[in-house]
Amino acid sequence: MTAAVLDFRLLYDEHVAFVWRNLRRLGVHPADVEDRVQEVFVVAHRRLAGYEERGHGPRAWLFQIVLRVASEWRRHRRRHPEDVDGGLAQDLERTEAEQAEALARREALDQLDAALAALDVDKRAVLVLHEIEEMTAPEIAESLSLPVNTVYSRLRVARQQLEAALRAQDRKSGVDHEPARMRVIAGGAR
């Protein structure tokens, strides 16, 4: 597939969820994620002519842009830590509209994101690409311009660190997460 035949709308439809998820897992706040998704695709559109298919589809290419945009967002967030209301109004509206199951899943995602935040971005990127996006080590290596062995080693360490972060969360909250409950959350529709 070349840039000439790559339909941009198709690219958007097929990968907007991928972009959305990874921006969230890389720490972009829910209130800002739509703007950042837009930013990723604006950059992608501008660079479309330079896109070359290397056998893994456009995800590796898009993820490079996602990484950059998420990094920019984190820098912006450090300079401007909170909005006037901290996004509270929007959160409240969203919460009111959500059903209990969706709320439970959102809590689960919040736990995951909090634990992922304990990892440095290099390891976090490898982990989410492998465990959530189910990308292979060679795909991840291409996405992040890394040797494959480095992908494996980062993955191993990232898993250990994530487990440790989740255990620390549990100790802090005093909650014992039952696997059965979590399976219900993971299996429901959002």
Binding site: Q38, R105, I132
Partner: protein, 228 residues
Amino acid sequence: MSDMSARTKDLFAAAKLDQPSDAARDTMWASIQLASVAFVPNAPASAHLAAKAIASSKLALGIALGASITVGVAGAILVMTRPSVETRSAVTEPRELEPAIERTTVVRLPPAAMVITGHAAPAMESVEIDAVEKPAATAAGAAHVLSERDRLAQEARMVAEARGALHRGDPETALRVVRAAKAKRGARLVPEELTVEAQALRAMGDEAGAARVDAELAGKFPEQDLGQ
């Protein structure tokens, strides 16, 4: 995967299902279309045509509804689809990811865009968006400027879309779109959104819900008369 607990695996399973809603997808796509054409004047002709098609459809809708807001938005989109001499000359070099966008395009919503169904814009003295044409250091910075600049136009577009859905006899879509518009941070067309929300609820037979929204409108914006 063997060194991960069941809980962690379940969290990842939940994360795999995380995705934007249909309304969010549509909203983002509309913004991307505008932004892409505005930023890349020599974009593929199909992109320009798509943006012009949006403008044309909005214009037609505006005529049908007699809603001057739609005409204003269409005008704004047409302004954005017409590349300036400066921006055209700025896009001659191959681009790198880091240096990103060289120039942004001037986008100025005409005052007409803010006149909603024949009434003055509600509680929004400075509704005209000023955007100075200036170099942008990074893609993130430029796109951020664009998203700020486009926020009001996007919201107005969503209100117009909701009105169109109402006109077509599709109050469910109208309600979904207008509530999405109202939920956006910094929403500035809340009186119009509440009006459309009440109309949609009424069209769906939810008189009690419509009355609650009417009461909210009267309570929050007592000076507004939006011709319900």
